[in-house]
Symmetry: C2
Subunit: 308 residues, 2 copies
């Protein structure tokens, strides 16, 4: 596929830089208005969980979707940070010994390894709370209906009917709670809940900030869903192919745990074909926006070609 | 002290009944709009965590504070349920093996005992998310600024600068993270964060729903803070006095873990005196409301005299 254009790469790294700075400020030791105190150990562990890592894909999608609708600045940046905080909380809890039991994340010790298990549970809890606090803060949007729509959207994408529900299904898929034979529909449902919903919301958040009409918001949501699905097929393909060195984390993990992936169900060629179809579908959702949407178009290719 | 009046007891049990019914509906297996699916195991474990227990003190405070300002019905009920869901999430996570390691809660197996540790972590996560979802839903308040103020208030009371921060300090107070010698100021800070902030918000939520002016909201918040502090001193006194049978949970736990309580710091007589002073202080905050606030007045006595 095509290499990323300079504009895309610049915007992606620029977004990552401002997101990092914004997260640093949100997670500083300085007590904020309305707070009683910030325990230094908790703050240090939260910074360990949320700073210095990742491409910041989710905030990038929020920022770019909002920019497409003419909204820039603190609003999209803060909303993007909220999604990223939510994502980081899910990683901290997923890594716990009773969940996926991972010692490393992006080459660094996971929070329960660097600190301890109790601290890691509280870090995840507090990162989730902070995500909602950031969205509900007037600094994110002066219009309170935008703030409450953002909260509602993130809650629906991440709760029992979204990400957390998907994580429970994922544990079930390991056969923890009785025999698990997953159909193709089950695997798709699981992936849509576990990772797709938050990615789709990352894009939808931009539409909420832009106070888009129903059609525009629908197109962007469909784009986000296709991108989320493409992300997951690409992840399944990567998991099968990549070496442990290249990824910096254990691979073939799903196979190891006997979990069915789309590669098992569709075969490698079938998975690649589906990935291409999803890229086309995501692109088609952006037709109405013309060249202004080129960055979001490139984002889909980036998602399926990412090496980390 | 005085026995509770019939009005008070009726209102308390009526609130508990409607809260229970409302939580049952929120935690049903039926997939709600905007959700992909509700995994049955997760829902059952969430119901285990949130249904059939407790006096529902926090929602009662929200409902009564709102009633004082002339607001009744679904709004205060839903906001109260959100605070209760948040409270239940904190209990599920606090009971985990790496935290307080409790096998029983109100005489029943804790969630990680009845299910497993991974499920209990996800149950807590999803209960927290649901709390914010309920607050941000238009069914709670038609005015979006009320919804977003409720979200912001609950997030601040329960996150890193409130309840979760307090739980981290509580773990530190056990000496887990180096020697812990807590001053009186430390113990007060810890208690204000861990339990006081959410109790105070339970009352403040009623003021937000009633769109109270600053003075009224301030008086109710001060009342909530005094009530929260009284709750905790009473808890420390109970913990020292009560027998395991009467409480239905292990007691003297704080002593066992070497944690300082206000009884250690003030002596039993000093703690009792402080408790009486806090009751008076809470009552004084209600002076401006006249007899209409009698239920909230009785709530303070109820809190310090409760046997469970």
């Amino acid at each position: 596929m095509m290499p990323s254009t300079p504009t895309f790469t610049t915007r992606l790294s620029e977004a990552a830089r401002t997101v990092e700075a914004s997260l640093e400020a949100l997670l500083s030791d300085k007590v904020a208005p309305g707070e009683i105190a910030r325990p230094p150990r908790l703050m240090a562990a939260m910074r360990h969980a949320a700073l210095g890592g990742g491409k910041r894909l989710r905030p990038f999608l929020t920022i770019e979707a909002a920019r497409l609708l003419g909204v820039e600045g603190q609003g999209p940046l803060r909303a993007g940070c909220a999604v990223e905080l939510l994502h980081c909380y899910s990683l901290v809890h997923d890594d716990l010994p009773s969940m996926d039991d991972d010692d490393l994340r992006r080459g660094h010790p996971t929070v329960h390894k660097a600190y301890d298990e109790a601290t890691a549970i509280l870090v995840g809890d507090a990162l989730q709370t902070l995500a909602f606090e950031v969205l509900a803060d007037p600094a994110t949007a002066s219009d309170p209906s935008v703030r409450s729509d953002l909260v509602l959207g993130l809650a629906r994408a991440s709760g029992l009917g979204g990400m957390v529900g998907g994580q429970l299904l994922d544990l079930s898929a390991e056969g923890r709670y009785g025999t698990a034979t997953l159909s193709e529909a089950d695997v798709r449902l699981l992936q849509m809940m576990k990772t797709g919903a938050i990615l789709a919301f990352s894009v939808e958040a931009g539409a909420i900030l832009g106070q888009a009409d129903g059609t525009t918001r629908g197109s962007l949501l469909d784009y986000g869903r296709a991108l989320g699905a493409a992300f997951q097929v690409a992840d399944d393909i990567l998991d099968r192919e990549a070496s442990a060195e290249a990824l910096g984390k254990r691979t073939g993990k799903d196979q190891e745990k006997g979990k069915a992936t789309l590669v098992d169900l569709l075969g490698m060629e079938g998975a690649r074909r589906e990935c291409r179809q999803l890229v086309d579908k995501a692109h088609a959702c952006l037709d109405r926006f013309g060249v202004k949407a080129d960055t979001l178009r490139e984002a889909v290719r980036f998602v399926v070609e990412r090496q980390v």
